[in-house]
């Protein structure tokens, strides 16, 4: 039953041209400092300083705008981005408040204008925060060391794949141990990064309980097993209670165990990777730890491991001198080297440290409790809406951070798909829900996640909008199928996107393919 008054909403529509279509020849948006006459006298004309054949001849076809025009253009585009301006319960991504104070801090020169190759003597503040945060994560995980070089969760999974290589290579077993085991519910980045690192992938299918059986794992573990890479709980909200046994089985066979802790939010202060037996884990600082998502980074996949794997960590690592100061240590002979250049996305490490300190251990526990409670609250209300069913309904026990639902019944009744519903919800200022990672084993899936940020009124409103759209699907399915109607633009025509003759990832490609002169 709809609880809230559904409010009027319309997205801003500026009908904004592409920046490449704007401006006039000769307009300037930015001017470089005037080169002092003495410099010119000393070195002569700039272009004469270039080797023959290496001077630009063809002028760049970039837009020419005044500073204000550029500013206003991008302000318009920001307004045409709904995101967190409405309600976004984008599951698997744990939408959080990103404390504004952190932007105030990281845009000051003592963070923004730091060079990674500076003398560590001049970087003590940054090194101290990295070290302090490393210690907080050690406490939350039970592991022994964290590094922040990975530029996201997938990059942390790749870090694990690289450490797995280096570990088995150091023992002379790499040629033999070339298989990585994962599950169908593990995030795609686990099999994908392991394959990119050269491993064969074994994916275990889910069984009736919502996870693969211990027997299924035993059947594939062997002397070829390099590592296990899994999430738990998964993003249907199901926790594999046999995970300790899994870890033991893989360890007994000589493999490593990596905990993709993407769904840490609901189990913060309850589950520690080390107690379960994992050698390593990954936390997403742009997600669980309050860093902003930026539409897809800059992110940090904090990678932590036990003593056994420390020699394999990418360098440089931040180490303590013992007198309250810190130094950077290059990796030793077993180190994987670099996953990415430099120390990582330091501003987001600072933001995550700030968020964690602001919360404290009790705050983290409250956040986990509120998140899981909110998910169960949502479930109660969502399952009252005709046409919505719970994914894997036979699995007993309350779901954790997230539950995956199906709109399959609604689709069967009305022809309206989960994508249509998603589009229509944006007409009410409610941004997309997450559907499902590949492979889909629940028809017409959607996966909301309330987390600890959204108020009960926001959650109710989100559910009310969904219910309104489900009602529309029954009374006027075309309205939903042809949506959105109140958005920045209408329903996207996706038929061109996979046609090489029509796709265009740049304006110059579009102009050529569609015969547009500039």
């Amino acid at each position: 039953m709809i609880k809230s008054k559904i409010r009027k909403y319309h997205a801003p529509v500026w009908d904004e041209p592409l920046v490449m279509q704007m401006g006039q020849s000769g307009r300037r948006g930015s001017i470089a400092p005037v080169t002092e006459p003495k410099i010119v006298e000393t070195v002569g004309r700039a272009l004469d300083l270039l080797p023959a054949g290496m001077k630009r001849v063809n002028p760049l076809n970039l837009p020419e705008l005044s500073e204000f025009e550029v500013q206003r253009h991008y302000l318009h585009l920001s307004q045409q981005t709904l995101g967190m301006m409405g309600i976004s319960l984008f599951g698997t991504c744990t939408m959080k408040y990103n404390p504004r104070v952190n932007e105030r801090i990281v845009y000051q020169p003592f963070v923004a204008e730091m060079h990674p190759h500076q003398d560590p003597e001049t970087m003590q503040g940054i090194l101290e925060i990295v070290n302090r945060f490393d210690h907080l994560l050690r406490k939350l995980s039970g592991l022994d060391k964290f590094v922040f070089q990975a530029g996201g969760g997938a990059d942390a999974a790749y870090t694990q794949a690289c450490i797995t290589r280096a570990y088995h290579a150091s023992r002379g077993e790499l040629a033999q141990r070339n298989e990585i085991i994962t599950t169908a519910q593990a995030h795609p980045c686990n099999p994908a990064t392991a394959a990119a690192a050269g491993f064969k992938i074994i994916t275990l299918a889910l069984e009736d309980d919502g996870f693969p059986s211990v027997e299924a794992l035993k059947a594939v573990v062997s002397e070829r097993t390099a590592a296990l890479m899994v999430n738990n709980p998964d993003d249907i909200g199901i926790y594999n209670p046999h995970i300790k046994e899994w870890v033991k089985i893989v360890h007994d066979a000589g493999g490593l165990c990596f905990y993709d802790h993407a769904n840490f939010n609901g189990v913060m202060t309850r589950i520690r990777a080390a107690e379960i037996g994992f050698d390593a884990c990954m936390y997403m600082l742009h997600k669980t730890f309050g860093g902003p998502k930026g539409g897809g980074g800059p992110a940090v996949g904090a990678y932590g491991c036990n003593e056994k794997l420390i020699p394999f960590l990418p360098g440089p690592t931040v180490e303590e001198n013992g007198d309250g100061t810190f130094y950077l240590k290059e990796g030793g002979e077993n180190s994987v080297g670099r996953i990415r250049e430099f120390l990582g996305n330091i501003p987001t490490v600072i933001r995550a440290y700030s968020w964690t300190r602001s919360m404290g251990i009790e705050g983290l526990r409250d956040a986990a409790n509120i998140s899981v409670l909110a998910n169960n609250y949502m479930e109660k209300r969502l399952l009252e809406i005709p046409g919505i069913t719970k994914g894997m309904p036979d699995v007993k026990g309350r779901r954790l951070e997230m539950t995956r639902y199906s709109l399959g019944e609604l689709t069967a009744d009305t022809g309206v798909s989960c994508l249509d519903v998603q589009n229509r919800m944006t007409d009410y200022g409610v941004d997309a829900y997450w559907l499902s990672h590949e492979p889909w084993f629940i028809p017409e899936p959607f996966t909301p996640e309330a987390g600890e940020l959204w108020s009960v009124e926001d959650i109710d409103y989100w559910i009310d909008v969904l219910e309104t759209v489900c009602n529309e699907a029954r009374s006027n399915p075309e309205l939903v199928k042809s949506s959105p109607h109140n958005q920045v633009v209408h329903k996207q025509n996706s038929t061109n996107l996979s046609d090489p003759a029509k796709w265009a990832t740049t304006w110059r490609a579009y102009k050529r393919k569609y015969g547009i002169s500039n």
Partner: protein, 472 residues
């Protein structure tokens, strides 16, 4: 409803439902009497019961601000010093509206919406791809990668997938950080997909790639040649066309890495033979952030041969149900790791998408004249610095011409180590050039100096007099 007990949260500014009334309302509807019921799936022996010994909470914004800034003020930034470090992360001026845009909450905080609700941000992405495409002279550009090095690593793997060969030639002057990333991406011989990296010597006379060494090492089993232009040591690879030709003659792909801020004065790499262009995005309106400002890109011709090997996501311009209306959608999603798991092209995930907002804003601000101007500016300032430094007794600029932004300074004749010189400079609040003595031992006691548009004549003269003093 729960009694007032340990399960009730403490109200916190980041959590609306930490208020007792909200929490209790949810408990009631969800029919929960004890919080532990919610965690019934988790076996009891999985739950940690030890002491946390955690640092105390600082829920007050004023307190957390004070705590963090007190620690961070121990840093000495490049802005309050005179900085001549480059080497993969460069201090350029960041226009104020670049910072304004990347801190707009609309751009800063979201993850993923629909093509309509994300339209503004998707348009920024398209404008990023389009303007990068203009600079490098390519029609197909993906969304950004983690860094210059990871873009190069993926490009090398793209080439190997295209021609099924497994050797890559790389200029020996490559940034050691970048080379280390390439090594990671090229894998291990024991596993599948391994690519052997073979370094091509630097010509000691010019600082450029040695064509003789290239000719000696190139063969029909080479998948790709990779070189940066300008290279890590600042030198413009003026024989780039010849290098590309040699690679194409054996059917190898040509991968060229660029610093896009040079492209107002240097030709696009597509004009001298690039098949795949990669590069950094950090100089285009992003602060150095202690290395956290880095980002990369991949660009190619709009040719299926390349397009079908991209590991990235990319937006394409398309239409809507309304005639004439523009929209943007992801193209080739199904070949990404999201679409195909281990059968996808390498992998993708969160990257540095927010920086596209700064990059697109920056490129729009500069325009064609701005790019030419900043390129000329950097050329003149860096050559002035090199010329004046070379006048200091005992100090040699190894390759005094044919460079852009960075140049190598050798101190062997001063009998001083770069590390000593840099310590002395630091006491004058100058960050000397990157010490090359460990990574490039054959260059002796050398440092890589970086000069950009931010350095005034006065700054450069201060450096020269400080260097003269500390090398005496």
């Amino acid at each position: 409803m729960i009694e007032k007990n340990k399960d009730l949260p403490t109200p916190h500014p980041f959590m609306a439902n930490s208020a007792e009334a909200s929490f209790n309302e949810m408990l009631k509807v969800a029919n929960v009497t004890n919080i532990d019921e919610l965690f019934e799936q988790i076996p009891k022996d999985h739950i940690f019961k030890g002491d946390w010994n955690f640092d105390p909470a600082l829920p007050s914004e004023a307190a957390i601000y004070k705590h963090l800034t007190k620690i961070l003020r121990k840093n000495i930034s490049a802005e309050e010093s005179l900085n001549f470090l480059g080497a993969g992360c460069w201090q350029h001026y960041v226009p104020a509206i670049c910072d304004e845009m990347v801190t707009r909450t609309e751009f800063l905080t979201p993850v993923w919406g629909t093509p309509s609700s994300d339209h503004g941000r998707n348009q920024v992405w398209f404008e990023f791809q389009s303007q990068i495409g203009e600079l490098v002279g390519m029609e197909f550009v993906g969304l950004p990668l983690y860094s210059y090095g990871t873009a190069g690593g993926h490009a090398i793997r793209m080439a190997a997938r295209i021609n099924k060969r497994s050797k890559v030639l790389v200029q020996a002057s490559i940034d050691p950080e970048r080379l280390a990333v390439f090594k990671t991406y090229c894998g291990y011989p024991e596993l599948s997909g391994y690519i052997e990296i073979i370094l091509i010597d630097v010509d000691p006379k010019t600082g450029r790639m040695s064509l003789d060494d290239l000719k000696a090492k190139i063969s029909k089993d080479v998948s790709a040649i990779y070189f940066d232009n300008p290279n890590y040591l600042g030198i413009i690879e003026s024989e780039a066309k010849a290098i590309s030709q040699l690679a194409h003659d054996v059917g190898a792909e040509v991968i060229i890495g660029v610093d896009p801020i040079s492209l107002g004065v240097l030709p696009s790499p597509s004009e001298y033979g690039a098949d795949i262009v990669v590069g950094t995005t950090q100089p285009l309106g992003v602060h150095m952030n202690a290395g956290g400002g880095v980002g990369g890109f991949i660009a190619t011709r709009d040719d299926e041969k390349y397009a079908h090997e991209y590991p990235t996501l990319q937006v394409s311009l398309t239409g809507t149900s309304e005639p004439g209306e523009m929209a943007f959608g992801l193209t080739l999603f199904e070949q990404s790791s999201y679409g195909s798991r281990e059968n996808g092209k390498d992998w993708t995930g969160n990257s540095v998408y927010l920086w596209t907002v700064a990059n697109a804003t920056y490129m729009s601000l500069l325009g064609p004249t701005g790019f030419a101007e900043i390129g000329e500016n950097i050329l003149q300032r860096s050559h002035y610095a090199a010329k004046k430094i070379a006048e200091i007794p005992g100090v040699i600029v190894t390759w005094p011409s044919g460079f852009f932004k960075e140049f190598v300074v050798n101190f062997d004749s001063t009998k001083k180590k770069v590390s000593q010189i840099n310590k002395s400079l630091l006491s004058k609040k100058i960050f000397g050039g990157k010490d090359l003595s460990k990574d490039f031992p054959h260059l002796g006691q050398s440092a890589l100096y970086c000069v950009t548009e931010i350095h005034t004549l006065e700054d450069l003269d201060s450096l020269v007099s400080a260097l003269a003093e500390v090398t005496k």
